[in-house]
């Protein structure tokens, strides 16, 4: 098994990490302090110029830290040998950057080969990783030029996971992919993450993607200043300031609804529902349930389990109540 749930993830701490470029008055990242618990996905989000990519690249020192520090499980990234540091961190970028002259299998085996794994183990793990990211083991012999954009990013993900790093850095990994494939890749990544529970730092400029992917979201604004660092629900429910409020959008209430599913909330007895109430699977988000009610002119939906048995109902009124109360994580 190349990956397992027992593999350790790392806790990442930004401690007043600052990046200044000579000749520029404003720092790109300004005294950024935040703690990412082991095994969580932390999304860095914000407008361009917010320094989110810079902050991420300071972790594997593709960009040097001017002041402050970043630690991985208590060890400063500044104290580690550069190649050792980077080989221990999975790195995924928007343009993927697969080596065009190497087969998919050899691309995935890049870091294991640098680490001196035996060839047999490299091949076996590449085959396993390909299946994990939704490709075929036989794709190992193809070249990147023969793959679609979505397939390439899957290979990029497999390559980043190859040496089983406790930390992954992902720089707008799904940014260049069409919306349908993007959504599928997001879902698959979340499913994978539930299994392997690595610590992930994920950069995006898209607040919806941040809400979907993040266990925690760090919103950075111009000049690399941290505006808010919290769970998606807290950020949507209680934006720290006007900037965050504007950034998350006027529909933040609706966005909050997409964070919860029918099975997550306390349902009312199904017997109270009207006979024509729409039936939806328990995995439906409240956002989609509300949308269904509005389009069908219904006042409630009935949540059903896998066997289509009613579990309870959710009314319009209850949705509105849920948005009022402070949801505790």
């Amino acid at each position: 098994m190349a990956l397992s749930a027992t593999d350790s993830a790392a806790e990442i701490v930004f401690d007043r990490a600052t990046k200044r470029y000579p000749g520029r008055p404003q720092p790109a990242v300004n005294e950024l302090s935040l703690t990412i618990p082991a095994g969580e996905i932390c999304v860095l989000v914000g407008p361009s110029g917010g320094g989110k990519t810079t902050a991420m690249k300071m972790v594997n020192r593709l960009i040097s830290i001017t002041e402050g520090d970043i630690t991985i499980d208590g060890t400063s990234v500044r104290s580690l040998d550069l190649t050792d540091l980077r080989r221990g961190i999975g790195y995924v970028i928007q343009q993927v950057g697969l080596f065009p002259h190497l087969t998919v299998g050899d691309n995935i085996g890049t870091v294991p080969r640098l680490l001196g794994w035996p060839k047999k183990r490299i091949r076996a793990s590449a085959a396993e990783l390909l299946e994990l990211v939704g490709l075929e083991a036989s794709d190992a012999s193809r070249y990147p030029g023969q793959l679609s954009g979505g397939q390439r990013q899957r290979v990029g993900l497999a390559r980043a996971l190859a040496a089983n790093p406790p930390l992954m850095l992902m720089d707008e990994p799904f940014g260049a992919i069409d919306p349908i494939t993007r959504e599928r890749l997001q879902d698959e990544f979340l499913r994978l993450h539930r299994e392997f529970r690595k610590t992930v730092i994920f950069v995006t400029h898209d607040i919806d993607e941040a809400i979907k992917m993040g266990d925690r979201i760090a919103i950075l604004h111009q000049g690399g200043i941290l505006a808010q660092y919290d769970t998606p629900d807290e950020i949507l429910a209680h934006p720290a300031d006007e900037f965050v409020e504007r950034f998350v959008g006027a529909d933040r209430g609706l966005k909050r609804l997409s964070l919860r599913r029918l099975r997550d909330v306390e349902l009312e007895p199904a017997g109270d529902a009207g006979s024509d109430a729409p039936r939806m699977p328990a995995s439906t988000t409240l956002h989609d349930a509300l949308s269904r009610m509005l389009t069908e002119g219904a006042h409630e939906v009935v949540a059903v389990d896998k066997d289509d048995e009613p579990m309870g109902m959710l009314s319009l009124r209850r949705i509105s109540d849920l948005l009022q109360e402070r949801i505790t994580a």
Binding site: L62, H101, Y143, Q146
Partner: protein, 239 residues
Amino acid sequence: MIAATPPVIPNYGTAHGCIANDNALFCTTWIRQHWHDTLAPAIVQHLWLTAIAVGIGFAIAFLAALVAHRYGFLAAPFGVFSAFLYTIPSIALFQLLVPVTGITVTTIEIGLVGYTLLILFRNTLAGLRSAPPEVLEAARGMGLTRMQILRRVELPLALPAISAGIRIAVVTTISLATVAAYITPYGLGKPIFDGLQINYRTEYVVAGLLAISLALLADAVLVVAQRRLTPWARRRATG
């Protein structure tokens, strides 16, 4: 007039048949008679001239390109120097070298090497610089050292440009090496100049055709070699 005085062919003894009579463009009797003592050795010499010139030229250009790739500010001066060498008229250059290196094969090789440098340097450097930025960023991000990036990423990706440069260098060197025989009688240039000197058409026509065939053949061999070396480029084109 020529018709009244049959060509004298001092190098080749008694002339008979098409040789003596009509100064044919393509006298097969002569070709058969002189294949072993004139044409075959000239082909072998010519191949050696070219192989050594391109070999040494590539070694120099490759090192210069590696240095210029690492220290970018050297790219311009190296480029200008190789372009300068390329602009010197070939006959003049060969003639200028004679006082230094004499009427020798070395004289030819120095000149030929000089003419390969421009194309080999430029193509190798362009090839090394052709690695896409995201590929280099991914390589750095995965912890490849500078040497590993050069060896495992930049050099393989430079192969198509490098072999394109070698192909041009080989073809132009095969052609230019015939001119070099004006100074040092060697290779296929020798029968061409001999034929011209005594106005014997078959000799220079056949030697010229052989030089052309050699260039085309070498180019074809190099194309096949390149495809073998860069399977990813071929699959991309078809797949």
